[in-house]
């Protein structure tokens, strides 16, 4: 039985905000990851929290700190979709 749960962007942004300790409003799809000072360790912290909520395994080796918040979110969406197949 599939127990994975797709996250909305809002749910994802809340996790990012909590892990980075920054206001939710600063986390928009177009926000550059460098602008919110997210490094590779912070990305792993975020993805572990996402895994815990979604039940999906997120391939952190695919993540780059060069992109935007939307890129991270799409990685999550794809990982959840993949785990349902």
């Amino acid at each position: 039985m599939d127990n994975t749960l797709q996250l909305t962007f809002e749910q994802f942004a809340v996790i990012v905000g909590e892990k980075l300790r920054i206001p939710r409003e600063q986390i928009q799809p177009e926000t550059a990851l460098k602008d919110i000072e997210i490094d590779s360790l912070a990305i792993i912290e975020v993805m572990l929290a996402v895994e815990s909520q979604s039940g999906a395994s997120i391939p952190t080796e695919e993540v780059s700190t060069d992109g935007k918040v939307e890129d991270l979110y799409q990685l999550v969406v794809a990982a959840v979709d993949a785990s349902r197949k």
């Binding site: 590779s40 360790l41 912070a42 792993i44 912290e45 572990l48 395994s57 391939p59 952190t60 080796e61 993540v63 780059s64």
Partner: protein, 281 residues
């Protein structure tokens, strides 16, 4: 990830294969071994798979981590067959090293094996900045990635006796890799540190070896600026197909070195790289 299995490669080893899927609770390649494993950060870490395979082969573990990585290692450790304790160890902290033996003794008693999977270089020390890298940045890379091997081993020495095995993770330092820069220099230093550790620990019959892994897309590899070029090299040049998403071959090589099956091998670099080091591609 490609599934590999030790069975079939050797009748001796296959006789030790698990009777059940988890592999827990039976005699294995590392049955009864007490191991300290550093460098578990994500599920793609080579060290994570060393830890997983070691537990499946019967070993008891402690992990180390520090700082912001501590909570990450603790969370990832929960995904091992038997979540091990995670001890604090910042390899630039003499105080952490001073307290390590007591902390490990409390968890394991003695130590039969140590895995060093620690490397770091500042961004200015990689990615093509070789000619402009400051001594401070180069020194950081050397301290964390090479000197720490000596420091870790000496910190654990009070707990190690005859037959103990130390294994470090290497990336072939006999040639210059684009963008790897001072990390490559640090790996060359690590290889030399290994030979000296073998020299000074030989009379205690403690073995010290490295596994030179092919490129694996871990967090460490992804943090190398221009790592795509390295990935392309590793996808096309090794004589045996090399899967950059598979940390298992390197992890299994570590498990063999930690076992009793190479009792007179020390100061060695075991390549788990699809044969890349041996050929001109």
């Amino acid at each position: 990830m490609t599934a590999h299995d030790l069975a079939g490669s050797s009748p001796q080893v296959s006789a030790l294969q698990p009777a059940d899927a988890s592999g827990l609770g039976r005699a294995g390649l590392l049955a009864g071994k007490r191991l300290l494993v550093t460098g578990v950060l994500t599920k793609s870490s080579i060290a994570f798979h060393v830890a997983r395979i070691a537990q499946q082969e019967g070993a008891q573990l402690v992990l180390t981590s520090y700082g912001r990585a501590m909570s990450i290692t603790e969370a990832v450790a929960e995904q091992l067959p038997q979540p091990p304790p995670v001890l604090r160890l910042d390899v630039t902290s003499p105080e952490d090293f001073a307290g390590l033996a007591d902390a490990v003794r409390e968890e394991l008693g003695e130590v039969d094996g140590v895995v060093h999977s620690i490397a770091f270089a500042p961004q200015n020390a990689m990615g093509g900045a070789f000619l402009d890298t400051s001594w401070k940045d180069a020194a950081t890379a050397l301290e964390v990635s090479a000197y720490s091997f000596k420091a870790l081993v000496t910190a654990c020495l009070p707990l190690m006796s005859e037959g103990a095995s130390v294994v470090g993770l290497d990336f072939d330092a006999t040639q210059a890799w684009p963008g790897y820069d001072w990390m490559g220099v640090s790996k060359a230093a690590l290889e030399s540190v290994t030979r000296y550790l073998a020299l000074y620990l030989g009379e205690r019959r403690i073995r010290v070896n490295l596994v030179a892994s092919g490129l694996v897309r871990t967090l460490a590899a992804r943090s190398i600026p221009g790592s795509e070029r390295l990935e392309e090299i590793w996808r096309t040049r090794p004589p045996m197909t090399w899967d950059v998403d598979d940390p298992v071959p390197a992890a299994k090589a570590c498990a063999v070195l930690l076992s009793d099956w190479l009792p007179s091998t020390t100061g060695e670099i075991l390549h788990a790289d699809g044969g890349m080091h041996a050929v001109v591609g």
